[in-house]
């Protein structure tokens, strides 16, 4: 296994453990044991738990950014792209729930861990940048209504985050994919020009 693969392995294992047990309860020996490496060797990859925590949010942000960028650069209307973003987000929440769990439960609730190095958009900029591109393209193309960015962003991501939260709490009667079409339609109606 290459060093990059091992690092990826640590990241995905840590994400799962943090999501399951919480940030403070999970220790570096827990993560090292699950990955199958010594604690000493683990420190060759991440020198502290706080640094690992920050790397994880960057990893998730880049993952989200990369996929939304592909959607942004693809063909289709803003309506089509909203549907594609919803589908991608729910697929990710279903197949890799630890990624969204980490974002919602660790990053947003333990900001003291991330401190100044993750201030504002610093650690989530790859993802936010792609959402900005999406909104900018949609308005420039005349399909979306010009409004404040955060009003639109909060509507879009808050809705998706809320649904994933309900899904994680096992409150939703149907799998996430069941709601994709209606949620995409709702978001489109809220954002489109009159």
């Amino acid at each position: 296994m290459s060093k990059a693969e091992r690092k990826e392995n640590i990241i995905s294992t840590a994400l799962k453990l943090f999501a399951e047990k919480g940030f403070y309860v999970t220790t570096i020996p827990d993560i090292a044991a699950k990955v199958g490496m010594s604690v000493g060797n683990f420190y060759n990859y991440f020198s502290s738990k706080d640094i690992l925590a920050k790397e994880l949010i960057l990893y998730i942000s880049e993952y989200l950014g990369k996929h939304i960028r592909e959607i942004n650069e693809g063909e289709g209307s803003a309506k089509d792209k909203i549907r594609a973003i919803v589908t991608f987000y729910f697929t990710m929440a279903t197949e890799r729930p630890e990624m969204i769990e980490y974002f919602l439960r660790i990053y947003l609730s333990n900001r003291e861990v991330f401190g100044e190095s993750c201030e504002g958009m610093v650690c989530v900029s790859p993802f936010i940048t792609e959402m900005m591109i999406f909104f900018d393209d949609g308005v420039a193309g005349g399909e979306l209504r010009d409004q404040d960015f955060f009003s639109a962003f909060g509507l879009f991501m808050g809705y998706l985050g809320g649904m994933v939260f309900l899904f994680g709490e096992k409150i939703l009667p149907e799998p996430l994919s069941h709601y994709e079409a209606s949620i995409a339609e709702n978001i489109y109606r809220a954002l489109k020009t009159v």
Binding site: R69, E119, G120, M121, V122, S125, P126, I128, T129, E130, M132, I133, F135, D136, G138, V139, A140, L144, D146, Q147, D148, F149, F150, A152
Partner: protein, 297 residues
């Protein structure tokens, strides 16, 4: 280099104009020395050897033709149409200078009558002017008005026999390669995304909300200051982008945004990279940049 004894003959013709470029030229600190280097056959305000009526007969040519204002083929000067005048003198001249944005690209007069008016070689960014066949030869000194130092640079270069390299729009690269943003005293506010609170303030950047075109405009206004002391941005007014072929734009004091995101970003930067950079920059609150430079007003 030409001998100092060689005096090129110069004719300054006006098309549809407000005289702004002539007035700007009168502010050139070394105007008397510059005029010494030419034999001015005709200029509407400066001492010259011929009258407009004589010039309008098109009996002789000149070495340097300076044209001010938009070109309107049917407009007459002393009974001769601009089409005839420009056709005659541009054909004879070794050097042609379009002084100001109207002569370069059509400017404000083209905006009001696009079917009649254009620049000498260009109409907007398209080479559709009467001298379109001489793109590259016509030196476009765009600006509303042209900076007197830029005109001084071009004319002195011609008098000295030095070639003037130009860009694709005919503008001298030495003057227009940089952006108006270069040398702006507000650059630190631009970097950290701190916008100005009101016009006229020394603090804050005018790009995000007040329509400043500095990072999108090829000009050296902040490198070679106006009257040697100032520029629009230095006194708290946004750059209007007057050296670009799309001048005049509408809503000069507004930055066009889509969901709060600037529609246009600095020249040479991808929008994605720009949004990433500014999003991160905006995360930092720098107290020093939020404060007044002087607190006593």
């Amino acid at each position: 280099m030409h001998s100092r004894l060689y005096k090129p003959t110069l004719i300054w013709l006006q098309g549809v104009t407000c005289n702004g470029n002539t007035h700007s030229f009168l502010n050139l600190p070394y105007l008397p020395q510059l005029l010494e280097r030419f034999e001015v056959l005709y200029h509407p305000l400066l001492p010259c050897t011929q009258s407009l009526a004589e010039i309008a007969r098109c009996k002789r040519g000149c070495n340097v033709l300076v044209f001010e204002g938009a070109f309107d083929p049917e407009m007459e000067r002393a009974g001769t149409t601009l089409k005839q005048l420009v056709g005659h003198y541009a054909g004879e001249a070794g050097h042609i200078i379009a002084a100001g944005s109207c002569a370069s690209f059509g400017g404000i007069f083209k905006a009001s009558a696009p079917e009649r008016n254009s620049g000498l070689a260009f109409s907007g960014e398209h080479p559709d002017g009467p001298l379109r066949g001489r793109v590259g030869k016509v030196i476009n000194l765009s600006g509303c008005p042209v900076h007197p130092e830029w005109l001084g640079y071009a004319l002195m270069s011609i008098a000295d026999g030095r070639p003037v390299a130009v860009d694709d729009l005919g503008r001298p690269t030495a003057l227009y390669r940089h952006m108006a943003h270069d040398g702006c005293l507000r650059n630190e506010y631009f970097e950290w995304k701190v916008d100005v609170e009101q016009f006229g303030r020394k603090e804050g950047c005018l790009f995000y909300e007040h329509g400043c075109r500095g990072p999108l405009t090829h000009a050296s206004c902040n490198r070679t200051l106006w009257n040697g002391v100032s520029s629009k941005m230095r006194v708290g007014t946004p750059c209007f982008g007057c050296t670009e072929p799309d001048f005049p734009r509408r809503n000069l004091f507004e930055t066009k945004t889509n969901m709060s995101i600037p529609e246009e970003v600095p020249v040479g930067v991808s929008k994605r990279a720009y949004l990433t950079m500014t999003g991160i920059a905006k995360s930092f609150k720098i107290k020093r940049l939020e404060e007044r430079l002087i607190d006593d007003d």
